[in-house]
């Protein structure tokens, strides 16, 4: 059963269309990335899934519940980390989480045990009595994730989780998100930093002006948009474009002197290596996963030309 399901979900603000005819299915236990530039409808989609904004038309189901009719049940089971998450600066980390447990209606003993558990897990136990006003951006973000875990959620929705973090903190944070997946929590995350999150997403949906333009695994998308899911860089003697193009599965070869960029629908490294060695020498051979940024840029360039 799909954990998150939308059918024709649409949201308009006056004449402005924020999200148009969104059909989405997120399976249990997967990490799904809602990706796209700012203002492409990611946050609006998330708010509709939580019942915080009313859709203009269409419907959504989260864990089989309608977020408009049963928002309390949905919000009790779904953890949400907003973009630029804020806490009460004059309260300590522990007090902030204590307020959340009260809103969740947890009994005292249970609440304290859970707060200790999540703070320790996020590495914030040592600073639990410090005022949140003194927290760094990365610490706040981890406190936000701690709050999400406080609910013991079935689904975690994270809006721009790595925004504003330095590369090291972002990497650590992505590791924590991977940890959620290992626990069996379904994760829906939104981001405009495509290259950062492509590593951890099982499937992605690319948004463009309120529409879901592309949907699938990164390899699928690369195959569909770039004409090849595999990108191989070869350094060898010049003049090998012809033989490389003959290899079955290769869709494109770009050459610059002795450096080649080969796009293929499968891993063609053994064939390329053999050809290079037969015709002279092979200096280097490397496989690169295509980046989502490239897919995105390429796709919308084509869409732009077509239009």
């Amino acid at each position: 059963m799909a954990v998150i399901l939308t059918r024709g979900l649409t949201k308009r603000y006056g004449r402005v269309v924020a999200v148009e005819d969104l059909n989405l299915e997120v399976e249990e236990g997967e990490v799904f990335g809602l990706l796209g530039p700012n203002g492409s409808g990611k946050t609006t989609t998330i708010l509709m899934l939580l019942g915080l904004t009313e859709p203009t038309s269409g419907e959504a189901r989260v864990l089989g519940l309608d977020p408009m009719r049963e928002p309390l049940k949905v919000k009790a089971r779904v953890g949400y980390l907003p973009d630029q998450v804020g806490f009460y600066g004059e309260l300590s980390a522990w007090e902030n989480l204590r307020y959340t447990t009260r809103l969740l209606g947890l009994p005292d003993g249970e609440a304290q045990a859970r707060i200790e558990e999540v703070l320790k897990r996020m590495g914030l136990w040592e600073v639990k009595d410090r005022k949140v006003a003194a927290f760094s951006r990365g610490m706040r973000q981890r406190l936000g994730l701690a709050e999400v875990l406080l609910k013991r959620p079935k689904v975690a929705i994270l809006d721009e989780p790595t925004l504003g973090l330095d590369p090291e903190a972002a990497r650590e944070f992505l590791e924590l998100i991977k940890g959620l997946k290992a626990e069996g929590i379904t994760v829906l995350l939104s981001s405009h930093l495509l290259h950062q999150v492509q590593e951890i997403c099982d499937r992605v949906g690319l948004f463009h002006r309120g529409r879901l333009a592309l949907l699938g695994t990164v390899e699928d998308l690369a195959a569909r948009v770039l004409g090849g899911g595999y990108e191989v860089w070869v350094e060898a003697v010049p003049g090998l474009e012809g033989p490389f193009r003959e290899v079955p599965g290769v869709s494109r070869v770009e050459a610059e002197g002795g450096r080649y960029r080969v796009l293929a629908t499968r891993d063609v490294r053994p064939e390329l290596a053999r050809i290079a060695v037969e015709r002279g020498a092979l200096y280097s051979l490397s496989l690169r996963r295509p980046s989502l940024d490239e897919i995105y840029a390429h796709y919308f360039k084509e869409v732009g030309h077509a239009a």
């Binding site: 915080l52 009719r69 309390l72 998450v85 809103l103 936000g144 709050e147």
Partner: protein
């Protein structure tokens, strides 16, 4: 489409959190100090004046609250000045402050409705003010006991209790106004300024305007027809009653002064058989100000409803 689940889920969590914030906040400390100092000084001068007349007045404690001595206004005068300020100070950043801190979407993603958040904040403000007022009243009573040496009578205590309730209703009006502005304006500073502007209008300009209106109306009355003069005077009174300040002042006058028999013009024939200067029983005084109290309560409910509707329609994202 019906939504499921109680709108009150989480109400008490919000209430206690907000109340704790208010009571420990610096803003409240400043207000407390201001109110305490001014009220105590007013009561002190009151006891100094009353000491000479102890034993002549059956309602000594009510006098204590209402006696003014130049240049100081009475305790009640101070309160009617400070209560709106305190209420506005507690409410002006209730909702827009949550937006500014980025906490609103996080709180609303917990299993509560917006109803609980707004109503919890309103109740917390009212609770804070009632704690403050009650402490102040008990302090004044204690001080009176100490300096006057006479215990308050049962009727006096009952009247002071109703005075307390009327003040809460009045505070509720300004609290709801502050809450409304905190929903309407994104900047807390704008909301504070707007609320203070409304307060200033009713405290300073509205009496001037009603005075002008009253004299203009009297000029229009036929000088040889007392009935038309009475009509114009009543009309002027009704105009002045559009202000919550007038309603509150009238309610206090009748509750704290048992000798008051009417809050408007009265004909000599209506006084036939009345012994002037004799106090009314509490029940009769309450009957006199029931419309005023209802008016204050209704105004608070109306303003809160407006804030509620505006908040429900607002988008969560900043």
């Amino acid at each position: 489409m019906r939504r499921e689940g109680s709108p009150w889920t989480g109400l008490w969590a919000v209430f206690f959190k907000e109340m704790a914030d208010h009571l420990s906040g610096l803003r409240m400390r400043i207000l407390e100090a201001l109110i305490l100092l001014s009220a105590l000084s007013a009561v002190y001068t009151g006891t100094q004046t009353l000491r000479q007349t102890v034993g002549e007045d059956p309602y000594l404690y009510l006098k204590l609250l209402t006696t003014a001595q130049d240049p100081l206004p009475s305790f009640v005068g101070f309160l009617s000045f400070f209560v709106p300020l305190a209420a506005i100070a507690l409410a002006f950043d209730a909702v827009n402050g949550e937006y500014a801190r980025g906490t609103l979407s996080r709180i609303l993603s917990q299993p509560i409705y917006r109803d609980a958040l707004l109503f919890g904040k309103f109740l917390a403000g009212l609770g804070t003010l009632s704690v403050l007022l009650l402490a102040l009243l008990l302090l004044v009573l204690g001080l009176g006991l100490f300096t006057l040496g006479v215990p308050p009578g049962g009727e006096e205590v009952a009247r002071i209790l109703f005075f307390f309730l009327a003040t809460l209703a009045y505070a509720g009006v300004w609290l709801a106004l502050g809450l409304l502005f905190s929903v309407l304006f994104r900047q807390p500073a704008t909301a504070a300024l707007a609320a203070l502007g409304v307060w200033l209008f009713f405290a300073v300009f509205f009496p001037i305007l009603t005075d002008l209106a009253a004299s203009a109306l009297l000029l229009r009355a036929d000088p040889f027809d007392p009935e038309s003069q009475l009509r114009q005077a009543t009309l002027a009174l009704w105009i002045s009653r559009l202000s919550p300040n007038t309603l509150f002042a009238e309610a206090l006058t009748a509750i704290l002064n048992p000798a008051v028999r009417s809050l408007g013009p009265i004909l000599i024939t209506q006084l036939e058989g009345a012994v002037l200067g004799t106090p009314l029983p509490l029940f009769q005084s309450l009957l006199l100000v029931w419309p005023q109290l209802t008016g204050l309560f209704a105004l608070a409910v109306l303003l809160f409803t407006l804030a509620y509707v505006a908040f429900q329609r607002q988008e969560v994202r900043a």
